[in-house]
Symmetry: C2
Subunit: 482 residues, 2 copies
Amino acid sequence: MKKQTIKEILQDYKKVLHHDITVYGWVRAFRSNRFIALNDGSTINNLQIVVDFENFDEELIKKISTASSLKVVGEVVESQGAGQTVEIIAKKIIILGDNFTEELQSTILQPKKHSLEKLREQAHLRFRTNVFGAVFRIRHAVSFAIHSFFNKNQFFYINTPVITGADAEGAGEMFGVTNFDLNNMPRTEEGEIDFSQDFFGKKTNLTVSGQLEGETAAMGLGRIYTFGPTFRAENSNTTRHLAEFWMIEPEVAFNNLEDNIDLAEDFLKYVIQYVLDNCKDDLEFLDKRFEEEQKSKPEKERAKEGLIEKLQNVIAKRFKRVSYTEAIEILLNSKENKKGKFVYPVEKWGTDLQSEHERYLVEKHFECPVVLFDYPKEIKAFYMKLNDDNKTVAAMDVLFPGIGEIIGGSEREARLDVLKQKMADMHVDEHELWWYLDTRKFGSVPHAGFGLGLERLILFVTGMTNIRDVIPFPRTPKNAEF
Amino acid sequence: MKKQTIKEILQDYKKVLHHDITVYGWVRAFRSNRFIALNDGSTINNLQIVVDFENFDEELIKKISTASSLKVVGEVVESQGAGQTVEIIAKKIIILGDNFTEELQSTILQPKKHSLEKLREQAHLRFRTNVFGAVFRIRHAVSFAIHSFFNKNQFFYINTPVITGADAEGAGEMFGVTNFDLNNMPRTEEGEIDFSQDFFGKKTNLTVSGQLEGETAAMGLGRIYTFGPTFRAENSNTTRHLAEFWMIEPEVAFNNLEDNIDLAEDFLKYVIQYVLDNCKDDLEFLDKRFEEEQKSKPEKERAKEGLIEKLQNVIAKRFKRVSYTEAIEILLNSKENKKGKFVYPVEKWGTDLQSEHERYLVEKHFECPVVLFDYPKEIKAFYMKLNDDNKTVAAMDVLFPGIGEIIGGSEREARLDVLKQKMADMHVDEHELWWYLDTRKFGSVPHAGFGLGLERLILFVTGMTNIRDVIPFPRTPKNAEF
């Protein structure tokens, strides 16, 4: 790329000091008709442009306002003012695009503080704000760190299908995909909708997980991961749910549950360390934002740690590994449970854990990330390996402070007979999954994997609280704008 | 990762020579009851396991056959035979999973040559073959190279929505997405289907391109790229079309058409060089396969270059940049056109180019990749920048040997009034794209981008000829298995 970004100019300013350079960007502020804060999206930091109005046409200066786009030629000099190392003494300014000042007033680009809700309604413009610039630059860094981690460790990226004919996993309600004219669908003689005439010759849905297909790939390539969109047609209008979100699902041949937990821990620590190393400015901005936000809360609800401190702490300690059975003991004996402080009291072994229980374990009891493993078979999916106790499966959940479950995974059931029995018990159709069963017939091997919801991890890393604010164009009930 | 892959063992064999190690994999062949070729998917190369049958139970040896999965402990020694540097003298062999020998005979895992069609029907097993192992390892390398290129150049990865309420770009027929029970859809008083009661409160489709949303992100973050699934509900049962495929769409603020062409050229060369550097063994295997395939063709139809040679040549030369107008002149004056050898004769300026014309330019006339630019406005999309001649738009297509168009892009129309006029001329709904128009109202800037179909590039790099063979689970008319 021939053009220099503002990030490059500020980082390597010594290379351009006292030279004339050309910069491009949008005006974030124009102070005293003299100082322009120019931003091009490459960094949260603005480049200060100094305009000596005597050298410029008055009409031009008048036209420059917040959100204007400019091309500026000028000399890089050491800055006199506080807040920046260098600035540009403008020699030539070209306005690239007009500003519709009146309409601008109703947008989030006007210079005042907006609520996150208001910013969300203008998702196409919010990329230009400090908060969302920081969030989406970090989202990029997290994504790149994920690919880098797996590439370093000899995993192969596999694109599992988005449109699927399978409806077997039961991870959630699915969206239908069709090419029918809904006003005029072909019918069978019995009056049923004739899906054999639809595009794919059968009923199809949007995937809820690439795991089962991913397992078949791992049975050939050894170590694979998916990184793609997944969907839930659930009418959950909460700060934690999206109808369309991105999932990462590694699957590793020859790995057992312990290997799987090791992988999850190494993986999360690598990604978080990468963000700490590569997104310093954006993190510092979000750290301050997080601190401000905490101040507005009642003291009891405030976070114990700052954002960056929290990330550092997660990396510093080994995750605590606790069996489900131990966890239930801890919860049963906890003051919280005895005093009835849980909304869902813990009564006995076998009950599914709620978010409040997970957070108690992580935030109060162990004060570090916790990996729970060996869950009762009844509350986990059919493909998880049955343990020798015949009561539990080799499942694992990684629980993070403030967020609860961030990773869920398991060693898979590699024995054909046991898998078939579990499918029968849990009413999963064998015929539909003929191909999945095949992998247990011809050189079946122990293997394990997990799923990570990308947006959950971005929430954790950015300190944002609404999942709609960490994906560029959120899809939620009654909302598919843009 | 604690376990060593066969790739690591073979690459760094000096570290383990004369040591006992543990390896895992699937049997590719078991020769003379003595030599096992073990593969774990990490590389196309097998690790030879030497079995002295006197040291092992006869029953165990009998059970080992093609497709068996093994855990082997043994000593790494220098190999006596040809074809490998080191081998393992087995001390302990554990069979990990049973083989259903009878069923195995009907699968592609039996030891004989299978047609690509047959392999495609068992997409869940074909990862274990040499061809598909190589193809999917290269697909990973290409994907990682793409992310690396953009990350190095300060682009941010943006996930544009898969489910979209917009239907405006008109890049192709779209699949509908719905949560309705199709047997019982709510109706308005007028008897129309009441989409306001569907999940998103409106009619929604699967995206055909993330470009328009990507542009809005580039208007804040500067340089962005998408890498995600896109969809076409077109009934094209060809070797070149998929209903679900992966697209990469970079978009860059402040770039003009020439910058855009430079970016496309740098990008393609980086990715191809990366594959040459990182996928040597797989490329050599595919190179031989390609050569064999050419031998079975009539001499006139054979490729001039080998696979690796072709990749090296693409990198070596600067892409030839030719305006559409020049290209039409060349085609009009070509022997092929004059002698009526084109299926679609070229008659005048303004006609759209067919694949045969593109391939003539690349393979016969210039003998190198060609970038065509400045196309007639009538045959290109509404969002492309109108040139000063008022006849052409700042579009560009990159044409590759053997494949035709591999990249299509343009500088975008940044002027609101011109864009609106073009939308009116081409019947694109302004109201639906209110958010897209907003980016031209508040600090509009010149910008440019392009789209690359991932599978087209993988076809080119691997020498495969059917697009269904370069995506793990192809989606085509009447086919959504797995």
